[in-house]
Amino acid sequence: MPMRPHAIALSVLESQYRVDQFNAAYGDCLDRGAYDSWIAMFTEDCLYKVVPRENHDAGLPLCTMALEGQGMLKDRVYGITNTLFHAPYYQRHVIGGARILSDNGITIEATANYSVFRTKPGSVSEVYNVGRYLDRFVYGDQGLLLQERLCVFDSELILNSLIYPI
């Protein structure tokens, strides 16, 4: 009988800590508009999707944004910064504590709830997009990288447009 039967293994705490730190940095990148840093948080062959919960639950493949690989992420960032005509807005991510589903030392599977608030210049803040991340991380040399992030959002109606990543 161990001395502390309900003790949490240190390795579990460690993956929890890593993912929470990662998510904090991720939200910070997007909220600052540091899109190159955002791209660098993904693997070369990543998958990034923003998908209505309605489609996700029904097993339908259509996304609001579906990017495969860092090349497409770069194309999106070029769109944001150079081609998409839109009213600018601030984003503020509030990301809840991650739930670690598995960690085999190579990949971590995890989920976390998020809410994103939008503030347009001269206007009030609005609840913009609410959902959860479904993630697969891989351990890289410099820390975790996202191999897959699905942003499954509850918000049935997008407030006009969704320009920046979530």
């Binding site: 493949p61 259509l62 497409m72 194309d75 009213a87 997008i158």
Partner: protein, 425 residues
């Protein structure tokens, strides 16, 4: 020119002061009374067919989905004989919008308030205590009056038209046949996509756009803007003024098709010089986003944008297909519901291609996000000017006629010509 409303009393609507339809007064987008009349005459009556669903969304008997005709929520349901009914989601008893699940499968519809039960076709099947409640001593308490007739208390049924996978409905049971409503000029373009092949549903995107609903119809009747507002269209030759194109409209000017054929894009003085959205050196890091594969049924055009007044836009832009349903919500907002689809005959590669190209469309689309934004800013401009302002739609003159080019605003003038007639404004 004076576009000021003649009176703001509840009885009188603003008058359109001048002839023609090339100057659209701002009050047409902002006046609540004008909006009420639009809803009555275009969406809730007046012989107009409104889009409600694709048949493929309801594959099995009993499958239903909630949709809208104008501001009224309706249930679109497939019956056991495979026919499709559209009934209003409002209990005949106390007016409850009883069906709350957006999609599902039902054997009947039951209003939870007093358990009034309806067949899938909307007929009232029964209700509790209709004959009263019999006590042990034989006394009958309550019950509906003896002349209560089930047949008089069904759900409001709409007239339904299904056409090769499309489902339309109207509250007006005297409406013309669907094909007559669309007319011989536009029907061939509908047939090109909806030729009877089975559709597959890829999914839905929904956005709320804070602008008048007509601005979205206009956006897809406006071939002038795509090669100017949308970098992707001008740079990659998906839509721009040096392409072979045609503008088609029905005899009333209400429905239209913008048709064009893709070119190689790149620099071409007449259409790119001085155009800030044109990006000469832009290339994609991942060309799969625009991996266009011609399909046998295109027969030439690479893009057909169909506006079926007042409720839906049908999009074919290269390999991406969608219906875009307009659900008006007051004079200054509408919900815009995109249903992307493919065909059962598509292989996996084609489905993936359609999904990748979907990145151009919807509320986050490389192209379409611009449109929602610009509609919001249009409404902002109308609001700040007030009733005296008007838009100028005079590219290619002030008349209304089909054209063999895209340097024109004729389709917008066509729509407002029809609008004025029906609105009696």
């Amino acid at each position: 020119m004076n576009f000021a409303p003649t009176s703001l009393s509840a009885e009188t609507l603003p008058r359109w002061a001048d002839e023609g339809s090339s100057r659209i007064p701002f009050w047409a987008y902002t006046d609540p009374m004008v909006y009420r009349r639009e809803i009555e005459r275009f969406f809730h009556g007046g012989g107009h067919w409104c889009y409600v669903a694709l048949e493929a969304e309801l594959p099995k008997a009993g499958d239903y989905k909630l949709s809208y005709v104008g501001e009224r929520q309706v249930i679109v349901v497939r019956d056991r004989d495979q026919s499709i009914h559209v009934v209003e989601n409002r209990c005949a008893h106390r007016g409850v919008r009883f069906c709350q699940k957006p999609r599902g499968t039902a054997r009947s519809f039951v209003c939870p308030y007093h358990q009034w039960t309806y067949k899938l076709n909307g007929d009232l099947a029964g209700l509790p205590f209709r004959q009263g409640v019999k006590k042990d001593d034989g006394e009958v308490q309550g019950g509906m009056p003896p002349d209560f007739d089930l047949k008089q208390h069904g759900l409001t049924k709409l007239k339904v038209a299904t056409y090769n996978g499309l489902v339309f409905a109207t509250f007006d049971h005297d409406a013309p046949g669907f094909e007559d409503y669309i007319g011989p000029d536009v029907m061939p373009w509908l047939n090109r996509i909806f030729d009877g092949r089975k559709l597959t549903i890829l999914g839905t995107n929904r956005q709320r756009i804070p602008g008048n609903w007509k601005l979205m119809m206009e956006n897809i009747k406006d071939p002038y803007h795509p090669g100017l507002l949308h970098t992707w269209f001008v740079t990659f030759g998906l839509w721009r003024a040096d392409q072979q194109s045609r503008m088609v409209m029905d005899s009333h000017g209400r429905h239209a098709v913008m048709i064009s054929q893709r070119n190689a894009g790149g620099e071409a003085k007449a259409v790119t010089e001085g155009v800030t959205s044109f990006k000469k050196d832009m290339t994609l890091n991942d060309t799969r986003l625009l991996d266009v594969m011609p399909e046998y049924w295109w027969k030439g055009p690479t893009v057909t944008m169909i506006t079926l007044f007042p409720s839906v836009i049908i999009q074919q832009q290269v390999n991406s297909l969608s219906t875009r349903h307009i659900v008006p919500s007051g004079p200054d907002a509408f919900d815009f519901v995109w249903t992307h689809f493919g065909f059962e005959e598509d292989d996996e590669t084609m489905t993936r291609r359609r999904l990748r190209q979907a990145n151009l469309f919807g509320p986050a689309g490389f192209v379409s996000a611009d449109d929602g934004e610009v509609i919001e800013f249009s409404q902002d401009g109308f609001r700040q000017k007030g009733a005296e302002g008007a838009t100028v739609c005079e590219l290619d003159g002030r008349g209304i006629a089909p054209t063999s080019h895209m340097v024109t605003e004729t389709l917008i003038r066509g729509m407002y010509g029809y609008w004025r007639k029906v609105m009696e404004i």
